[in-house]
């Protein structure tokens, strides 16, 4: 796989990651509690910035560690059977996102374990310092690990085939793109938009985001399957 194609796959995987909403939900709640408890705008900015940095750091750590595991297991030349298995995982993930990502009820309740949701909700209430907000950012990425595992694995498998410098570039591309939705909400909160407007938009468009994430994964699996499995089979046959 050449470098531009690999980076395009990583970028698409990052975009799919960006459509997942747990971190955005937690950021919305954190901002609500901070503004509601009469803390200053500077404090709000410090907490939300720490949260966003925490989510970014966890994304980098997850992608790097998954890449390391893949590299240790399969080396730089991943066997086709692994690509096929990952394609299967992606299809399963895409279907579960279409079916389950949002619960069929009011609001933006996600299909994550209720214990995790309750824990994150309680933590947002008690978050008062930047270090706690940073930790909350880390946890919010872990909270939806079930959904982000597919784009992370496909990116990791793609990245391990690249030269070291391009692996770094790939990790940066993935992280920056996957953080876009969070950064947009962070900027909106920081610039004085009301949480009501943000939450209303999220609620109104939740099924579109769900559909886009599932469809994006299917496009990604189609491309990877054709390029990695069918492509190499045809080339090998010739």
């Amino acid at each position: 796989m050449d470098i531009p194609v690999s980076l395009a796959i990583v970028a698409l995987a990052g975009l799919i990651h960006a459509s997942f909403q747990l971190s955005v939900s937690v950021l919305t709640l954190l901002s609500g509690h901070t503004i509601g408890s009469k803390r200053s705008n500077a404090k709000l900015l410090r907490l939300t910035t720490s949260f966003v940095i925490g989510a970014g750091v966890m994304t980098v750590l997850l992608l790097s560690s998954t890449s390391f595991v893949m590299l240790s297991l399969y080396g730089t030349d991943t066997p086709q059977v692994v690509w096929a298995a990952v394609c299967g995982l992606l299809i399963g993930d895409a279907i579960s996102i279409w079916l389950f990502y949002y619960r069929r009820e009011k609001g933006t309740t996600l299909w994550i374990p209720r214990g995790v949701a309750a824990y994150l909700t309680e933590r947002t209430k008690s978050t008062k310092i930047s270090a706690e907000a940073f930790g909350l950012g880390l946890s919010s990425v872990i909270g939806e690990a079930f959904f982000i595992v597919a784009p992370i694995i496909i990116s990791a498998l793609t990245l391990v085939q690249l030269p070291a410098v391009w692996q770094m570039v790939g990790i940066v591309i993935y992280t920056v793109i996957s953080m876009m939705s969070l950064v947009v909400v962070w900027a909106m909160i920081g610039s004085g938009h009301t949480l009501g407007r943000i939450q209303k938009w999220r609620e109104a468009n939740k099924y579109f985001l769900q559909f886009a994430a599932g469809s994006g994964l299917l496009v990604l699996v189609f491309f990877v399957y054709v390029y990695e499995i069918l492509g190499s089979t045809v080339v090998g046959g010739i």
Binding site: K106, G107, T194
Partner: protein, 94 residues
């Protein structure tokens, strides 16, 4: 002012507690402030909504915290629809 009304907590797992006007008032003020309402407006809205909720509670000696939330949202919608939306969404955001 605390009414002699028992509030059954969510899911019935935690112990019930007495209705506490200050707690309700603070939660409404927080919702109003979250949508960037001036503090004075938030306080007066919360006071008016608390009065309405207490009026309703006087006919109901035992209610759940979810009942309180629903009734509060209903009255808050009249005074401040955007704050009411956020108040209602609090438990259903994640």
């Amino acid at each position: 002012m605390d009414l002699a009304v028992d509030i059954i907590k969510r899911g019935g797992k935690r112990q019930s507690e007495r209705f506490n006007r200050a707690k309700l008032h603070a939660s409404i003020v927080a919702a109003c402030l979250s949508v960037r309402t001036p503090e004075g407006h938030a306080e007066s809205t919360a006071a008016a909504v608390c009065d309405k909720v207490i009026e309703w509670l006087q006919q109901h000696p035992e209610v759940t915290s979810q009942d309180i939330r629903i009734v509060t949202t209903r009255h808050l919608k009249i005074y401040h629809p955007e704050a009411a939306y956020l108040y209602e969404q609090h438990r259903i955001t994640i």
